[in-house]
Amino acid sequence: MSSFSVSFRPHAGTGPDPGSAPDGAHVCVLDLAGELDAHTATEFEAALQKCLDEGHTRLVVSGRDLQYISSAGLGVFMAFVEPVREAGGDIKIAALQPRVFNVFDLLGFPLLFDIVDTEEAAVERFTQGPSTAA
């Protein structure tokens, strides 16, 4: 059985109030670790749903420790990006390992999502206005 975990943390911003992007809105970071496949996708889904329920719409998904993603895992991103964007936020993807990035890339995800090298860059993107993707 594949192992997978997802955890939340507010982004440790540089402002006086940690966890805030410079314009005051909260950026929530989800750390993915392990293998995101059809078995573990529900867990990721539940985590994103919790973010939405709590009103967090500025989400950075950090894939530093993500070893593998299957199409079911990618499906979760697709399922949530629309409601998140409708709520005025975005899902940005950061720090993917090359092999995992390749999976995103093959499907054309870079055209749909902001995929950046570091978490900081992802948070930065939130300050530059709406998503650059279509």
């Binding site: 889904e45 539940a46 919790k50 199409s71 697709m78 629309e82 093959l106 499907l107 055209l111 749909l112």
Partner: protein
Amino acid sequence: MPVLPPARPLPVSRKPLVRTLGSRLRLRPPALPLLRSGRARRVLLWAASATLFLALTLALGGLAVVGAPVATVTRVALNVGAVGLGLLLYPLLAPYFERGPSDPIRALWTVLLFALGLLGAFFLQPVVFGAARLDPATGLPADLGAAMDAALVALLEALFAVALLHTLRPLVLFRRTIRAVRMWGAFVVLATLAALASAAAPPDVPNAWPAVVLTVLAVGAMIYVSFRLAWIVPLPFRRKLAALGLAFVLVVVLAFVLVQRSAGTGAAAAMGDSLPLSALFSRSLSELVSFALAFGVLYGSTTFLSLLFHLPTSGTYEQRSGEIRAFRALAELTGSVLDRRQLLAMIASAPVTAGIAEAAWLALVDVRSGSLAPRIVAAEGIAAEAAGRLTDAEALTAEVATTREPLLLGTAAADHRVRARPGDGIGSLLVLPLTAGGQAHGALFAARAVTDGFEEEDAGALATFAGQAALALSHAALFEDALEKERMARELALAREVQQRLLPQHLPEIPGAEIAVAERPAHEVCGDYYDVVELGGGCVGVLVADVAGKGAAAAFYMAELKGIFQSTARLTRSPGAFLAQANEALAGSLGRHAFISAVYGVLDPAAGTFTFARAGHCPVVMARAPERGGGHWLLRADGLGLGLDAGPLFRRTLHEQVVHLAPGDVFALYSDGLVEARNGAGEEYGYDRLTEALCRHRGRDADGLLAALLAEHRAFTGDTPHDDDLTLVVLRWNGRDAPANGVADGDDARAAVAAAAEPPFTVRPAFLSAELGMRSSE
């Protein structure tokens, strides 16, 4: 001796209470074979006792008739014999008091009846025999009549004493401890020794100091065992009352027996001194009986007093034990219910039904619902909506899930997670974690309208219940899962059957090209799809697609794709145009999770081209023979997965790649299951190995190449269980004619040969930005 009917069991203890000397003797291997049979042993014991008694009586009678002073040795022998008789009676009577667990009321009642019987014998004795006298000169009965009289009374007293000890012993040893068992043994042994210590003295001589010391010790042990009264606590109120009355009467009657023995009707008239009549028979045996009587009086007194103090709290105890019993019953019940909804309702209502709480509700995390926040799934005595509004179930559940301990809020309103005001019915709140198998499932909430409404025991009882409830829940979940799996398996088997028919049953003949296909589903229903269709004009379309996700939904999308492919593929020879068309057709029906990656190639033998478009799919691997310039390529023109974007982005980004074929070119179109398959060490097969294998086996025909690629793949992955579907399509281009000199190749192919390792293909946007419509190839 009356044989007791089987006694009723004590309310709580399930262990047999009685394990007497007799039963222990029986456990030992007897010395004589005769003694192995219980019946023979009993007969032997009876015979020995009777013989001993008769011998003692006759000896004493004879000595009384002679009337001479007796030697100390004779007196000691007589006393030891009499005590021995008592010790024989102990195992002899044991079986009659060993009929299963005994009931305290019945025990007290039995002792009382025996005591009354003995008292009756005392009153009858002077009427029948007249006064018995001690001869002060010899310290023996004055005559034969007195000797017989004393012997009979001593026997009755000994029987009574043994019966008393047998009857009270189970009460003393209720909830036995090693210490209690030892003290009981010490009492019996010390009393016997104390009695034997005066064996040499005539009945009317005061005890010497060894006897006094032993007596004091025996009394110490007696006092200890007299405070073993644990059986009182679980008695219901009415039975406590009955026991109280019986204990009182028993103390009075036993005290009366004691008095009557030495001063009244049961006494021997001596020189200004009153002795128990039995002392004429044997001073030691008589003292032993005195110990038993004293113990009876003492035990009756402690019982009486203890009952007196326990009566006022009896109601509380009964209520508590009633609640706990109710809980146990509920806990057992919940263990047998597998229907989840029924189970939830039962768990929520249990604290209320048991009378511990006035309202209770259940908050559970259900990962399947797609949310980590616990939801209130059942409530009793309060509306689920109100429970959710008045308390922050999420925060409270999170806390108990972390601490794994019950959380008791004596004044609920003082906690920031409780929003209840007085009158809302949540004065005090108890939150219990539901954990099973190390996993927190949620929490059980119990509320009372008053503040500080819960006691420690409530928390304990509820925590135990919550533990069992959590187990029951996880059992129910397992059961549900198993049912679900079975249902799924049936459905999937059906879907698999349908799906198999969706795959092409035979591949078309392509002039100049060979094609070979392998597919291996990881599950019953596979998300992979491939198809080969003749497009007319000699062109052939080859599609490989992978539906995200598995199972029945994947099969449906696959069926839809098949429909689109079969109906629209022939309308165009542009792979890009087909994929754009398919994307738009699928956009309406794909769920928001779902997308399909696909690669579509159109082989045009006449033009000597193989044109690809890739919608998010794995790149096509191509290898060319060295004599044609050699080389290998991953063909990955840009393109979004189908269903990822319903708008113009898909068309804008989609590119086509045209390969100008040279004879001997081989192509592998496959699903990600091939390259992402891992070996035992966790390494992926990867593109490099695939490319390398394709190059190495390039010379074989399509079937041979396919077999070689699969064999290498299998050799790499070994026995590692595959969890993704695998599809592999191999296409080999042999050339339109005999491709010996390459004359038959198109101009582009010749150019590729000349350019050696230059990529033999061109990439172009599938659609020019000016015309985003369907582009016809003709």
